[in-house]
Structure formats: C-alpha cells, structure tokens
Symmetry: C2
Subunit: 279 residues, 2 copies
Amino acid sequence: MAHLLGPALTVSSPVDLSAYDSRATTGFDGKKADAKAQLFAMGEELSTLQEMLFAGGRSETTATRVLVVLQGMDTSGKGGIIRHVAGLVDPQGLSITSFKKPTPEELEHDFLWRVESRLPEPGMIGVFDRSHYEDVLIGRVRQLAPAEEIERRYAAINDFERSFTESGGVLIKCFLHITADDQEERLLARLDDPTKHWKYNPGDLDERMLWDDYQRAYALVLDRCSTEHAPWHLVPSGRKWYRNWAVAALLLEQLRALELEWPPADFDADTEKARLAGM
Amino acid sequence: MAHLLGPALTVSSPVDLSAYDSRATTGFDGKKADAKAQLFAMGEELSTLQEMLFAGGRSETTATRVLVVLQGMDTSGKGGIIRHVAGLVDPQGLSITSFKKPTPEELEHDFLWRVESRLPEPGMIGVFDRSHYEDVLIGRVRQLAPAEEIERRYAAINDFERSFTESGGVLIKCFLHITADDQEERLLARLDDPTKHWKYNPGDLDERMLWDDYQRAYALVLDRCSTEHAPWHLVPSGRKWYRNWAVAALLLEQLRALELEWPPADFDADTEKARLAGM
C-alpha cells in the first residue's frame, strides 16, 4: 500500500466493463497467502481507527461517518466482504443494511427515503449490501419505473451523496466486478454444496438471463455517478482473496486520510482520580 | 467444555453477591493463554453455527433467534464482550442494541416497548448492552418510577421473556460480576490512558457512590427473574479473559443445544444445474 489503491480502481468514461479483467490484482504485489496475511495485519489498524472514529461519535465531537456501498451481480461477494472485511472491526461500530425488494410502504416514498433512514450515525461505519443504486439497476433493467423517473434518479443520487459527504460522510462505493463465467462457476458451487443451498434462489437465473442488460446498467451507473466526492471503485472480484484485500485497503486508506484523533477529555483527569481515591 | 457451563453459573436464592468471587474461573481448566486459544477455537464453531441459524432465518424455515443480554456495573465488560465474543461471528447476523437513558418518546410507553422493537428477527443473534433490566436497576436505585410500578416490573419481565422464548427465542442473560475494587482499578486505568478517556464520564462516579444499592438491586433481579426458560448467569468478570471465554462458552452451548441444520433446498438442484448449463 505504498501507493493509494483508490485512484487505481477508479474507472474512466465511457465505461466498457468487458475491458476490465475480473481476475486482475491491481495494486497487489504477492500471492493469495500474502493477501490473507496482509488482510489480517490491516485488521489490526482498521480496528484501532474504527475505535477512534467510534469514540468521536460517542463523545459527540465529530460528525464523521463512513459508508461502504457494495454493489455487484449475484455471487460477486457482497456477503463475503461483510464477513471478512467488516468482520475485522468491533461489530458495535457497524451498521449493516441489506436492501431487499422495497416494501409497499417504501414504494410510497421517493426511492431515497428508505436509504436516508439507514445512513450511519456519526462515528459509525455503515455497510450497504445493495443500495439506492438498485433503483437504477434492476429498476432500469426491469423497467420498474417510467423511463423519465429512472433518468431523474442519477442526478438525484449525486445530489444525495454530495449532501452526505458535505455533512461529514465519507463514501466508499465498490462495484464488485465478475464475469458471467465467474458467476456460473459460483452458482454451480452453490448447487453442488447443500450447506450453500440457502444462498441459492431459482430467481437468480432469471436475473442472469439479463446479464448484458445489467452490465449496461452498471456501466451507466459508473459513468454518471462517479463523482469527485464519491467516486466508484471497480473492484476485480474474480478472486475472492483479492476482492477482500482490496476493499479492506480502500477502507483503510479512507480511515487514514481522516487523520482521526482520540477525543479530548471533557473532564480533568487528576480531579477525577482524587474523587475516586476519596471514595 | 465437557460439562455444561450454564448450570455452573446459575445462582441460588436468596442471592448474596458478596459471596461470589469476581475472579473465579468456574468451569475453566487452564491459564490465560489457554483461554485465548480456546476462545479462538470456539470462534470457528460459533461462526458455523451462527451461519446455520442465519440461513434458517433467510430461508424462512425457522423462528429461532438468540438474544444475549449483558448487564453489569460500569467497566464490567459489556463492550468488551461485544468486541471479543460477538466479534467472532459474521456481523451480518448480529443485531446489537446499546440502551441509553430513555428518550421522551420511549418514556411515554411501557418500559418494555423500546425493548420489544429491538428483539432479534428469526435467524439473528441479538445482543443487548443493558436492557429492560435497567428499569429495575437504575429505575429502583434512583427511584425513577413509583415503588408499585417498580415492583410490577419483575413479573412483567418474566412474562415478556416467557413469551419470547415460547415463540422461538433463546435468552442468554449474563450478569457481569465485578467488585468495587475491580471497578476502581479499571476506572483508574481509564483515567490514566488518554485513548480511554472517551469511555469515562464523571457521572460514573455518582453511580459508583450507590454501589451497595446497585448490588442489592442486582441481587433482587437474580432472585426474581431467574426462571427456567430464562435463567440468569453470574459471570465472574474480574478477569477479562475468563469473562470473554465464559460468555462465548454459554453462547456455544446454547447454539449446540438447538441442533441446527442447514435449511433444505426448496428447488431441485439437478434441474437448476441443467438450466444453468443451458444458458
């Protein structure tokens, strides 16, 4: 991590996803076993920085909060990142939301309504397993809203994210890039393993039939919603160990850049020690 | 863990907390380093069992959910258990609630209202950092409600917990037992370490002045609310490594007793493989 990984994983417009190798290991120098060792080592620093962030939230001395947005096709590894990367820090400081099909109540509101209510509080690291981007992904592919409404949403998302970052939010948006072949291999592995059947849904194949449409929808998202304050990162996710390493590295870079400090005491330590001793 | 730890940590009425050694290592045979190694090993099994539980929830084949209730005086280690024990499993399957001073809205409702809304969903492991018991602890010590109301709450809690366990809930209630000397040592450590100042609040000493009242209130809780379906465990917490080991062991025992299985497929794997191959 001598060089920053973030800039190396940003995409340039116009985006053509077929040009990106899902098995690339951008920015990583070593083998699979090295990545696991590095991930473990990053875990120590992540854990300390997360505690500093959390301390700031608890003591109400910061508005800073971090939000990791995970998007990608089925089997791209959103759940794996939560387990292996988010799992490196104190769960007390995590706020994880898995967005499903919107409820009738959610559908009565603007598409950003349910997302706003799940933004992390100051001091917290939020993780979105799927997000407001579904409304321009499955929303677009399945035509779940009129075309004009879908078009309106890209700018609405950019405004929403700018407002989040201007109020102390840090966004880390990760598109977990896999190929149709990667997905086939992983779906087969799920079908072959009874301990993984619960992760499989026949509907997954209906979405897979629309692979190209989804790739185009993702390319549009990366084109239109990669902004200076909230860039998208294309994380090659054909190798699980690289994917985990890369997302941990992106999170660590962002936490380091915050230059966090332990919150100052709002009491006099010597006075308190004297009180305690006098009890 | 040849013998079950749970029964060894239950208390008998009438409870006299001064009779319990906070530095006991009940049920543990070994040294500090062994406890850490065992905790790590238990983490592997906990992680698998938690995933099975979670799988049941996701596939809507179970109503089972687990709730760990953590109570104890300041510095007894509620946060430490979340970090070191809950942190052993996939954070996606955790639902952690830290109960603070009730909000005006919460105060308008029955004391159990805010707790009900935070019960874990099927498949989840919930952790309560403080809980409905605060309403018969600080509630009693600080006389935050009329005496009759406080008295009413013990039976209300038992009814509430019975209803939770009858609908698939498993309760693991842990009282983290420390002495006033243990607390003094830990508060001093916090005051001596600027990276821990954020955990300290001068109000902590005001509560400490009422130590004996709190001990009596805890003894009442253990006497009146330790039921067959939801027993209290007194976890000696003078040694942090034992405390973490013991709570992990209690959780593991309960998860094992559930005899969890991977949810069965609601599809035919061969049919799905043929569909996938035909794409």
